[in-house]
Amino acid sequence: MRKRLKINNLQAFLQELQKQATLIAPVKTDAGEREFRPVEQVADIVLEGSNPLRSPKEYLFPQMETLYTFHLQKDGKATLKETLHNEPQIILGIRPCDLHAIAYVKEFYSTTHQDVYVLEKWKHTILIGWACQNPLNTCFCTSVGNSPVDSKGADIMMAKTDSFYLVEVLTVKGKDLIEKIPSLLEDSPEADNEVLPSIQKQTESMIREKVDLLSIKGRIDSAYSSSIWKSYSDVCIACGACTFNCPTCTCFDSADLLETCQDGCRYRTWDTCQNYAFTLHASGHNPRATREARLRQRVMHKYQYSVEQLGLFSCTGCGRCTRSCPVNIDMVSIIKDIKEVVDHGEE
C-alpha cells in the first residue's frame, strides 16, 4: 500500500504517531547534534540532514540494560524479577543502512540464542524508514550491496519529494498503524513509482566510491594472513569508539550490582572486541593479545564470520566507524585493501 502525505500535513501526521506510542526520532539536542531520542514535541524532529552518529540500535539493544533484579527475603529465600521493557515504540527516520542494522541485530539475537530482551522490544517496535538523500563522505552502503532507498526491514518507508512525502506501508504492523490515522493520507498515483528510483540515482551519485564486496562474499577469509591488518593496527589505539558507534556490534558484558545486602541487579553493558581484556582468560592467556588480531577480528566479523553464520554482511556501510575513529582509520581503505588481496593476492 502506498500513500502520499502533503508537506503541510507532516506535523499533524507526526502528532498522530506520537499518540499511538512512544515516538523516537532524530531531534536536535541542546548540544547541537542530531540524535535519536524520544520525542517531546514533534516540532523538534529534524528528518533531513546526515545520519546521527548514534544509531537507533540502542532502542532495541541499549548500551546499558538491567536484566533482572534480585532480593533476599527475611526468610532467606531469594526472589528474581525479570525487567522486560516492552512498551510500544515507533522509531521514525531510520536510514536504509540502519534498517539493515536493526534487521541484522534481530536476526543475530534470534539465531545464536533467543535474546528475549531484544526480541521483546523488537516485537513492540514499529520501524519507519527514511530514504536517504544526505550521504556523508564516510558512507559506502552500495559497497556492501545496500542502497540509499532500500526499505528491507522497515514497516513503513517514507521519502521526501519537493511537493509531498511518499509513505509506503510494507508490513501488517505498519498497516495497523496507518489504519489508525487514515484522514491525513492521500492515494498515490502510478507516477510515484519513480520517486524512490530517482532518489536512489541522485544519492548514489554522491556516494564517494563503490568497492564491490559482493563479488568476494564468502571468500574474504583468504586475506586472513595478509599484512594489511598490521598496517592499520599500528595506527589503531584500540579505543573501541568504532564499535561503540557501530549499529551492528552486538557484544556485551554483564555484571552484578549490589545496592544493599539484600537487593541488587544483573545488568549488561556494551563491550568492545578492541579492548585487550575482552578475550583475556582467567589463566592469563589472551588469544587476541595484539591489536592486529583484534582489528582483524572486528573487520572479519563484519565481512566474513557473519556471512558464515547468517549469510549476511554485518557491515551496513554506514561509515560510523570511520566517523568516530580518532586516528582516521577509514573502513573504505580497509575494504579496498581486502578486495585487492582477495582478488590478486599479496604483492
Binding site: 539536542t29 541542546d30 548540544a31 547541537g32 547534534e33 546526515s50 552518529l53 548514534r54 548500551q63 546499558m64 544526505n134 550521504p135 556523508l136 563522505n137 564516510t138 554522491m206 564517494r208 593496527s233 599500528d234 595506527v235 589505539i237 584500540a238 579505543c239 573501541g240 569508539a241 561503540f244 558507534n245 558484558d253 555484571a255 550490582l257 545488568y267 553493558t269 568492545t272 579492548n275 585487550y276 581484556a277 583475556l280 582467567a282 595484539t290 591489536r291 592486529e292 570511520t322 566517523r323 568516530s324 580518532p326 586516528v327 582516521n328 582509520i329 577509514d330 573504505v332 581503505s333
Partner: protein, 330 residues
Amino acid sequence: MKKQIEQNVQQLLTQIWKPGDLIIAWKNASLPGHRTPAFLYRKEDIQDIVFDSFCDISLAKYLNERNRQEILPPHFKGKIHIVCKPCDAKSVMQTFSDQQISETLVNLIVVACDGIIDRKKIEKHCDQSIVDMQETDFQILCTDISGKEYVFEKRESWLRKCEDARNCDLPYYYGYYFVGDEKEYRTRLKHRYQTHKKLPQDTMSPKELQQKIHQELSRCIRCNACRNICPACFCSDQCVFDKPKERAKLVENQVTTENTILYHMIRFHHIAPNCTGCGECERACPKDIPLHIFFEYFNRCMEEEFGYKPGKTNDERQKLLSYNLGEDLV
C-alpha cells in the same frame, strides 16, 4: 610555505635515516582534511610524509612502551625518528620523564607550526558533508557533496589549543632537530595570541558548574577514546577501568552519568601531573564533549599551586607522584 616545510622535513629525514630505523610521521588519509599516522621503514617512503595544517593527531602516543610493543618489528635495533609539532614535543618530553622510552632511542624532529585546523569545526559550518578540503596561506577552501563551495579564514578555524600561543612554545631540551627557523619561530610566538581562556570554573557558581558538568558528561558513551589517545595515559591494558580481574573495581561498568563523572574525575586527577594540555582527548571524542573544562583547569592548578608545567623538560620530577620531596622516581 607549508609545502617548503614538508620538503625540509623529508630532506632532513633522508639525511638522518639509517637502514633499520623507524620514522613516525603523518601521511594523507583518503578523506578530505584527514591525515593519519605513518610508520615508515624504507627510504623511498619518506616522500609520502605530509606536514600541513591538517596534521592534528599527536604522534607522541606511539612512543610509549605498550604501543612500541605493538608496532616495532621483533629485534628492532634502530632509532625512532618522530616528527612533532611543538605541542606534541612536550608530550614526548613527558614520555621521557615518565620513563616510557629511553631518550637514546629517539630522534625528535620538531616542525615550526602556525596552527592546526579544527576539522570538526569546519565540517559543522558546512551544510553537507565535505568532499574536498584544501588550504592556502590564510584560508581553507571546502567543497561539499552537493558541489557548494566554502571559504574559511584560518585564524578563525584553529584548534582551541592553537589559539593560545603558550601551548606552542618549545621544551627546554637540546636534543631535537628543528625544521624551520627556530629563532624566528620564537619571535613569532611572542606576537601570537596569549591568554588564559575563560573556563566555566571562572564564571559559574559551584552549582551551575556541577550542572554543566553533569549535562556535558551525560552525553559521554564511555568509548574510552579520550583515554586511549592521551599520550599521558600509558597504563594501557592495566588501566583500572578495564575490567580489572585482580584489582579493586573503581567504577562500575554501568554507564550512568554518575559513573561517567567518576571515570573522568579519576582519569583527570590521575594524569594531572602528566597532562601537557595537548587537547587530544577533546579532539578524539566522537561526541565532541568539551573536555578542556577539565584538563585546562587542572593544568592551571598545577601551574599555580606547584609552579609546574608538564612537558617543559625531559627530566623534571613529577609532582604528586612522589611521597617525599626530592624522592627519585621509581
